[in-house]
């Protein structure tokens, strides 16, 4: 059977989606020794399948449907959809997941619960595939939540550490806040369109004024998963999970889901909603960038850089630039995964995550150094690297959008985005210096003891670093126009700003110079604390949401016991009291009346005794009179 018939494509897609779940179950029974191999094989197979699918993506989206819930006439189906957007994501997810799993084999060499780890990873991949292949909002929501579960399990993988289980809970709950909005958004969508199918949305928006609130509710889902302001504080805490998990979570799964959602629901976003999306994205970019600036934990810097980049993608979506955002998602996936894997190699070598105890690792870890450098430069948007291209696509689209807006204020958004790319260079250069330059500052492990990791770890790092080079994405590495990517996803804006590349290069140069030279202040000024505590968002969240909820819960619990149940008990007690009163009354009054009646009777008896005087005549008289009286009463 030729591979491109719709039937065989559907079959392949189904198999592809099923694979990780089979893997999850298989790992539950497999032995520890083969678990890593099994997991990598499954994901490798999935990668092969998804490449085949990507090469045969039909022009018309392929849909696979099965009845799921039939409610008195309304049918909700489990529907899946394969188009170029999902094919792209399929390859990306599998590719990064495969590299991460290979890396994990060496990184988690001594982990006793390796089987469980790989099983969770399979679940994570499977859930992400479900999101990517979802054909309607309901299916997407289902897998969306499953991604939440998988991330909960992986972030809390070291569950015996209180911080890890706390971080896992926080991630899940914060995501749920977004998901609650997402769910309402789904209800609204269903209410307005009577359908949840993505294929219907492109035409659904036409001619109807889209309710802004619908788009914003759906966007809340993205805010949770993609760590947008203000739901971003779970992401830095999620660093409690094993480092390879962070690589996966920050690159191709989880946080990418929110961006992907926006790409799918883009037709449902009203112009006003788009402005809000752009605004939230921009705030997140700046917020994340500033928070990364003074962090001392190597992974936290990367975490906030992810927040910042996600903000950039969301802002791109808000400015109507779907392909630009997806392009950045793709390039970001490679260099961010590369950065996390390289950071893992550093942590592996020096056994600490604190950058104040690193430094001068350039010579000791040359391969790590170079892959880190390439990925970091790509993240910062240095020319000739992939990040430069995708940032140019986003910034160009943003300026284009601002020109079309009626309000001049709109240009604030692209300007802030542009400035934040300088900010990115600033904190990455600082990190680069702290880790690889200067004096080695670790007292526990000497510089001679540090060593490059196993080849199983080095390989994925190098591959990802190489893929961060711009050449792979565009023949002309200084211009994004003409990239193959826009043949897959057509670009929304074609306009070109000649000054954009020079200005951003200038900004990057300034940022790099300043970042490399900057000295961390010794005292914790407000500016530093603002960065370290990411704008006190966590504190605010604690005081404005968590504490009041808990107080309310405790208050209600007391009220429930004292007032509600108290009322019931009081009712019971008062009934008992009433019963006693009635008993007393019964004894005194009713019984008293009876006794009184008896007493009265005997009194009367005393009085009438004189009538019974033994004289027959008077008896007869009384009898006759009585009889007459009775007869009279009866007859009249």
């Amino acid at each position: 059977m030729p591979v491109h018939t719709p039937l065989s494509l559907s079959l392949l897609t189904t198999v592809l989606l099923g694979l990780p779940f089979v893997g999850f179950l298989a790992l539950a029974v497999a032995s520890r020794r083969v678990s890593a191999l099994l997991a990598s094989l499954i994901t490798g197979l999935g990668l092969g399948l998804s490449i085949v699918l990507a090469l045969h993506v039909p022009d018309q989206p392929l849909t696979i449907q099965a009845a799921w819930a039939n409610l008195s006439g309304t049918l909700f189906s489990a529907s899946f959809r394969l188009d170029s957007l999902s094919a792209l994501m399929l390859v990306l997810v599998h590719f990064v997941a495969l590299l991460v799993q290979i890396y994990s084999v060496a990184y988690l060499h001594d982990e006793p619960r390796l089987r469980r780890y790989f099983a969770y990873l399979q679940l994570f991949v499977g859930a992400m595939l479900g999101i990517v292949l979802a054909g309607n909002l309901l299916v997407m929501y289902a897998f969306w939540e499953l991604v939440g579960l998988a991330s909960y399990l992986l972030i809390g993988f070291y569950a015996e550490r209180p911080a890890a289980s706390k971080a896992a809970k926080k991630a899940f709950l914060m995501n749920r806040v977004g998901d609650a909005g997402f769910l309402i958004g789904i209800f609204l969508t269903y209410y307005f369109f009577r359908t949840l199918d993505f294929s219907a949305f492109n035409t659904a928006g036409a001619g109807v004024t889209l309710p802004t609130v619908l788009g914003l509710c759906l966007f809340m889902g993205c805010m949770g998963k993609s760590a947008q302001f203000p739901l971003l504080t779970w992401l830095p805490d999620a660093m409690e999970g094993p480092t390879p998990v962070s690589a996966l979570l920050h690159a191709a799964t989880m946080v990418a889901a929110g961006i992907f959602l926006l790409a799918r629901i883009h037709p449902l976003l009203s112009p006003d909603a788009l402005v809000v999306v752009a605004l939230i994205g921009t705030i997140t970019t700046v917020w994340g960038g500033y928070s990364a600036l003074f962090q001392t934990d190597i992974k936290k810097v990367l975490a906030f850089s992810t927040v910042s980049q996600l903000g950039l993608m969301v802002a791109a979506m808000g400015t109507g630039n779907v392909s630009g955002a997806m392009f950045h998602l793709l390039t970001h996936a490679f260099f961010k995964a590369g950065l996390f894997l390289s950071a893992g190699a550093v942590i592996h070598a020096v056994h600490t995550q604190d950058m104040r105890h690193m430094g001068g690792l350039r010579q000791a870890l040359p391969i790590t150094f170079w892959s880190y450098t390439l990925c970091a430069a790509a993240l910062a948007g240095v020319p000739f690297l992939s990040g430069f291209l995708s940032k140019e696509a986003i910034l160009g689209g943003a300026f284009d959008w601002a020109n079309q807006q009626t309000s001049g204020l709109a240009s604030i958004i692209p300007i802030l985005l542009l400035l934040s790319s300088g900010l990115t260079m600033l904190y990455m250069a600082r990190q680069w210096r702290l880790v690889f330059f200067g004096n080695y500052r670790n007292r526990h492990i000497s510089l001679e003891q540090t060593h490059e990791p196993d080849w199983l770890m080095r390989g994925p790092m190098v591959v990802l670093a190489v893929l961060s080079i711009g050449f792979w994405f565009s023949i002309n590495p200084l211009s994004v126009h003409g990239s193959w990517f826009f043949c897959v996803l057509p670009a929304t804006s074609e306009s070109h700003f000649w000054w954009l590349a020079p200005v951003s290069i200038g900004l990057i140069a300034v940022g790099g110079w300043a970042g490399f030279r900057m000295k961390d202040p010794r005292t914790e000024t407000l500016a530093v604390r603002l960065s370290l505590e990411y704008g006190f968002l966590d504190v605010l969240f604690q005081h404005l949401v968590i504490n009041p909820t808990q107080k309310l819960a405790n208050l209600l619990s007391r009220a429930d016991r004292r007032l509600v149940d108290g009322a019931v008990n009081k009712l019971g007690v008062s009934l008992v009291v009433l019963a006693y009163i009635v008993r007393t009354l019964d004894r005194l009054v009713i019984d008293g009346i009876v006794n009184g009646a008896a007493w009265l009777a005997s009194l009367l008896g005393q009085m009438t005794r004189s009538v019974q005087n033994g004289r027959v005549q008077s008896y007869i008289t009384v009898t006759v009179v009585g009889l007459v009286l009775v007869l009279w009463w009866l007859l009249y």
Binding site: Y152, E160, D565
Partner: protein, 554 residues
């Protein structure tokens, strides 16, 4: 025949156990096991016999039970009338399964076994009776009789405050059934049985001769006052009670009745009386305070049955009686009713968050989850009603699982306080896995049944033309709260470094084979229902469509 067997097999079992000599004590649990297993099989037979396309009562059994001539007031007739439809069948199957699991949970019971098992089987029979009875009087009989075994099961085998809890449970429910009784009498006086009336009036020789036309003519004769009141047969049959054409023209509860008491029409009052009666059972805030007490004091199997089955009678009563007999009242007060549902969801959720006792936490989560049932029913949409029935089944499975889980740790240490444990994952890995599954399934993780029930009740309430959108928005926070209290408990009790208040005295062992045998099938069931919700919806669809017709006109 199947439905009668469902009722009388356990009753017979109860009798057998009561009569067997004490030397056979070890056999009692096996007898109970075999009988509840047979109940499951019978319910499967009923499932297979049930035609999903038919929207009427099926497997009907009808015997005239009591006929009481009241002279000029007419004739009162009570039928032994059983039958199932899409609303009751899922609950019958659920009850059979939960009752079987309950016997498994009773396996470690040690004292007064004869009384325990015969009361348990008595409860099984009466619960089944509640779900299959189609005569209001018969239903009420079972409904009342259920109280007796439940009272003793909590009062004799419960925890330290068992007397208080069981009396409270008893009085609460009794109060509710008193209200139901009043309405039941009122209804019976107001409604005629058109078929029997036609027979007594000499219009037809026997029930087989009934035609639609005849029904209509006798109903119009009733409405125009042409029927001699001595010939009217008063009935408790639910089918007739739910048809407004059968109401006597001047009757108290006739929809056209002008009687106003305290500003309410008699029918509105009757609706509220019935509503309160069943709302106590469900339970709905603020009539819920018997529930945490009863659960905390009840032994594990009784908690399992209480949450898994008995609460559902409340929701079933709404659908079968309150809403069906008084659609006018239900429509009139949808906003308030849905508001009460939302109140239960949020109030129960917040209370669950504040509990220090694992079992109490689960009990309040039940209050919250039952709120979804009321919200779905009040929405009067296909999504909402189907979702509400689904939610009842789902909660039956999941709450059974949750109470078993609370029982596991209680069995080992006799301490259910959440802060008495940390890091249980280490000594009890399997227990932790199953707890995590139960918690995630209950907090509405897609793939498990909890999600489907919440999704469709919320969706129904949002689509409902009777309800304001913000009600659904507020209810959605209940989903959020569920995640909070379950995950917080998981984090506090199961994760982190291991510590237990009873470290010195008790070694915490992982699940036994018996415990696994109960928990794993329930988990699989929750998963199956979550993946294939049509397993339930195929049963409920036709009935719900028919049921909703009544509300589409008004």
């Amino acid at each position: 025949m199947i439905l009668s067997l469902l009722i009388f097999l356990p009753l017979l079992g109860a009798l057998v156990i009561a009569l067997l000599p004490e030397s056979q004590v070890i056999q009692f649990r096996w007898i109970a096991f075999v009988i509840t297993l047979a109940e499951v099989m019978l319910s499967v037979v009923a499932y297979r016999e049930f035609n999903q396309a038919i929207d009427d009562y099926q497997l009907v059994e009808q015997v005239n039970w009591i006929t009481l001539p009241l002279g000029n007031l007419g004739i009162v007739s009570i039928d032994y009338l059983l039958g199932i439809d899409g609303i009751s069948l899922p609950l019958v199957i659920l009850s059979a399964v939960v009752m079987l699991i309950g016997v498994g949970a009773s396996w470690t019971m040690t004292h007064r076994l004869r009384a325990y098992y015969s009361l348990y089987l008595l409860l099984t029979g009466t619960v089944m009776g509640c779900f299959v009875a189609l005569d209001f009087f018969l239903f009420f009989l079972f409904f009342e009789f259920m109280l007796l075994p439940m009272y003793f099961l909590i009062g004799l085998w419960g925890g330290p405050r068992r007397e208080y809890a069981s009396i409270k449970f008893f009085l609460y429910t009794l109060f509710g059934s008193l209200l139901i009784l009043l309405v039941m009498i009122g209804l019976s006086l107001s409604v005629m049985d058109p078929v029997s009336t036609a027979i007594t009036a000499g219009l037809i020789p026997d029930p087989s001769a009934v035609t639609d036309e005849l029904m209509r003519s006798i109903q119009s004769a009733l409405q125009s006052g042409q029927l001699n009141s001595a010939q009217i047969v008063h009935t408790f049959t639910m089918r007739y009670l739910s048809d407004s054409n059968n109401y006597l023209p001047n009757a108290l509860l006739n929809p056209a009745s002008q009687l106003i008491v305290w500003g309410f029409s008699a029918r509105q009052l009757a609706f509220w009386a019935i509503f309160i009666g069943f709302a106590i059972k469900l339970p709905i805030v603020p009539l819920h305070t018997w529930l945490p007490e009863a659960h905390v004091e009840a032994p594990t199997p009784v908690s399992v049955v209480l949450a898994g089955v008995l609460l559902k009678i409340g929701g079933y009563g709404f659908l079968r009686i309150a809403w069906d007999f008084f659609p006018d009242g239900a429509v009139n007060y949808t906003q308030i009713l849905a508001g009460l549902g939302v109140l239960s969801i949020v109030y129960g959720g917040l209370n669950a968050l504040a509990q220090a006792d694992l079992k109490k936490m689960i009990a309040y989560s039940s209050v919250s989850h039952m709120g979804f049932v009321l919200l779905g029913i009040a929405s009067l949409t296909a999504e909402g009603i189907n979702g509400a029935i689904y939610q009842m089944v789902s909660h039956g499975v999941l709450s059974a699982m949750l109470f078993l889980i609370a029982g596991v740790v209680y069995d080992r240490t006799h301490d259910r306080r959440i802060d008495s444990y940390r890091g249980l994952m280490k000594p009890m890995p399997r227990y932790t896995t199953l707890t995590a599954i139960a918690f995630f399934a209950s907090l509405g993780l897609p793939g498990f049944s909890g999600f489907v029930g919440e999704l469709f009740t919320l969706m129904g309430s949002f689509q409902s033309r009777w309800l304001a959108g913000w009600l659904t928005v507020v209810a959605t926070t209940g989903v959020l709260l569920a995640a909070a209290y379950f995950l917080w408990t998981l984090q506090r009790m199961f994760f982190g470094p291991y510590w237990s208040r009873h470290e010195a005295t008790t070694v915490l062992t992982d699940l036994t084979a018996r415990e696994k045998l109960m928990l794993i099938p329930l988990a699989v069931l929750a998963l199956l229902l979550g993946l294939f919700p049509n397993l339930i919806f195929n049963l409920t669809n036709a009935t719900v469509t028919q049921w909703l017709l009544k509300f589409s006109v008004e």
